[in-house]
């Protein structure tokens, strides 16, 4: 028996999320007295695959097939179903990201396996099997029992610390037969931003709200994010106004993120905004209104005009980066 973890790669490379997943799987395997099998799909060099062993994978199954170049949820769910059946996996772990959310529910029906989505801790209990998951958009956490024989967990990004548990992993190259006719998804066009830190990957996020007054004032937000090696974000009114792209909107209906540091500048902190950022480890609020709800969520606050405070912050960061 093994815990199966699906590790996504980006152009043949793993990133922090992949290692979080394997570390989490290693924790689950330890609890259940089993071992970790990591599944990787696509062209990934052996040296890169071996990295998964550093976080506790005992076996790495590499599936490479031209039909998997296009992401089709039905086909991918089929691959996971086959591999998990072959390995007798009772617990399957994916990321709670675009890919995981596309695969997990299909796999669930195929295997009749209950899903604990967006888990942020190791299972609370094995009998009954109970997971800890976000609910009510971060206003509550549920202890949820999964009563099926096979369980699927999707891990919230940046919620579980990477732990090094070196293992000499064996790599198993597996070929899966997929007919071209099984791939129903046709990708007609791809637009990719390159060279920009992804909001969901960033450890530090600097975010602006209506208090920034105009899109012309975004310079210091971008500069601060760059200096700190972070990404920029914004509140909903800002993206609705077209001041910033929709992809930067953090909040209940936008992106849900959990960086180590979230700096909210000129954001009042409506419930819907907090729903997207409340899992951040540290929140800094800069706002003119001392009664703004953002200060209840923040550990550090500055009551003042963002447009005056920001340039000073930028200078202070430049000072320590010297």
């Amino acid at each position: 028996m093994s815990v199966l973890v699906y590790t996504e790669n980006w152009d043949g490379k793993f990133k922090k999320l992949s290692f979080e997943l394997v570390s989490y799987a290693a924790g689950v395997a330890k609890m259940t007295g089993s071992s970790v099998t990591a599944l990787s799909v696509g062209r990934v060099e052996d040296a890169e695959l071996k990295k998964l062993g550093d976080y506790g994978a005992a076996k790495i199954v590499n599936v490479n097939n031209d039909q998997l170049a296009v992401f089709d949820s039905q086909v991918y769910a089929g691959v996971l179903a086959d591999i998990s059946a072959g390995k007798g996996s009772k617990i399957i772990i994916l990321a709670n990201n675009n890919t995981g959310k596309a695969i997990a529910p299909r796999l669930s029906v195929r295997l009749k396996a209950g899903v604990g989505s967006g888990v942020s801790r190791l299972p609370l209990n094995l009998n009954p099997f109970t997971v800890y998951k976000r609910s009510y958009s971060g206003n509550a956490f549920a202890h949820m029992e999964i009563n099926s024989d096979i369980k699927i967990l999707t891990l919230a990004q940046n919620s579980f610390d990477i732990a090094s548990t070196p293992n000499t992993a064996t790599i198993e190259n597996t070929f899966v037969t997929i007919e071209a006719s099984q791939v129903k998804t046709v990708v007609k066009n791809v637009e990719k931003q390159t060279g920009k830190m992804l909001l969901t990957d960033a450890d530090i996020v600097v975010s602006g709200g209506r208090g920034m007054k105009s899109p012309d004032n975004w310079g210091p937000i971008v500069e601060l994010a760059d200096l700190l090696g972070g990404a920029t974000a914004c509140s909903r009114p800002v993206s609705d106004e077209g001041w910033r792209p929709h992809t930067e909107h953090t909040g209940q209906t936008g992106k849900i993120i959990a960086p180590n540091l979230y700096i909210a500048v000129g954001i009042s902190g409506a419930t819907q905004h907090l729903a997207g950022i409340s899992s951040s480890k540290y929140i800094v609020a800069i706002n003119t209104d001392k009664d703004a709800p953002i200060f209840e969520a923040a550990q550090y606050g500055i009551v003042g005009d963002a447009l005056k405070v920001l340039p000073k912050l930028v200078e202070a960061v430049k000072e320590i980066k010297k």
Binding site: A102, V187, E191, T253, Y282, V309, A316
Partner: protein
């Protein structure tokens, strides 16, 4: 073409969540129930697509799995502009159970496009849409932030890490939609509210399906430490705290 929009009934997103004694459910006293925000945006987009006659959308139906108490939410969807509704008369026990019920409705009524919001703001599962597709054995496209028609065929934009793709799949399919699908939710006009009263809501009894998950208990998020204020004239002090106290920069 016929569109089905799956709608969930959730507490208004500004609700202060309290738990009922025993912490096994929320305290529903005084809660305003609304259409789940993403489902409302799906419905809006479905109606926009129908408004353009060139797209050939015959009808927009909403389906809801819930008891009679959720009728007002269904009426609201009809008031916004859905043509008719199906209510599966059952407590939505978990995602698997709910998806199985919706799939049964689709099997009987034959829809071409099934729209599901990415998640419900209560359980935050993000799984019902994909499950419906798998129960039906039809394609699903996730993270859909746009849907339009080109030459009579639905074309979708799906978000990927750091970009987007334009994709098509053959009908019938399930689109799991998110931010961007429609700009603002459509609001019910008085005429719509009047018309909604006479629109058909078909009542369907549930099929026997087990549930695979169950919430045993809820807890509140851990309280955060009180905010430490820093003088606005001296932001450098903040940087010092982030560096030496929080150790995050």
């Amino acid at each position: 073409m016929k569109i089905l929009v799956c709608i969930s009934n959730v507490p208004d997103t500004t609700t202060k969540i309290r738990f009922a004694p025993g912490n096994t459910s929320i305290d529903i006293a005084g809660i305003q129930w609304v259409i789940n925000p993403w489902d409302e945006l799906s419905l809006t987009r479905a109606l926009e697509l129908k408004d353009d006659a060139a797209n050939g959308i015959k009808s927009v139906t909403v389906v809801h799995v819930g008891p009679a108490a959720s009728e007002p939410t269904i009426r609201k969807a009809l008031a916004i502009g859905a043509d008719d509704a199906v209510r599966v008369n059952a407590e939505p026990r978990d995602a698997y159970y709910t998806a199985a019920q919706i799939a049964e409705v689709v099997k009987k009524e034959q829809f071409d496009i099934i729209l599901c919001g990415i998640e419900s703001s209560d359980y935050n599962g993000s799984i019902v849409g994909g499950m419906v597709a798998e129960f039906l054995g039809v394609p699903s496209v996730s993270s859909v932030s746009g849907i339009k028609f080109e030459n009579g065929q639905p074309v979708m934009t799906r978000e990927i890490d750091g970009g987007k793709e334009t994709v098509t799949v053959p009908v019938p399919f399930v689109a799991i939609v998110q931010k961007g699908i429609a700009k603002e939710p459509r609001i019910a006009a008085m005429r719509g509210i009047m018309m909604a009263r006479s629109k058909p809501v078909k009542l369907v009894e549930p099929v026997a399906v087990e549930s695979l998950t169950q919430v045993l208990e809820y807890e509140k998020p851990a309280p955060r430490a009180a905010c430490k204020y820093i003088d606005s004239e001296n932001p450098a002090q903040l940087i010092g705290l982030l560096q030496n106290e929080a150790k995050v920069i």
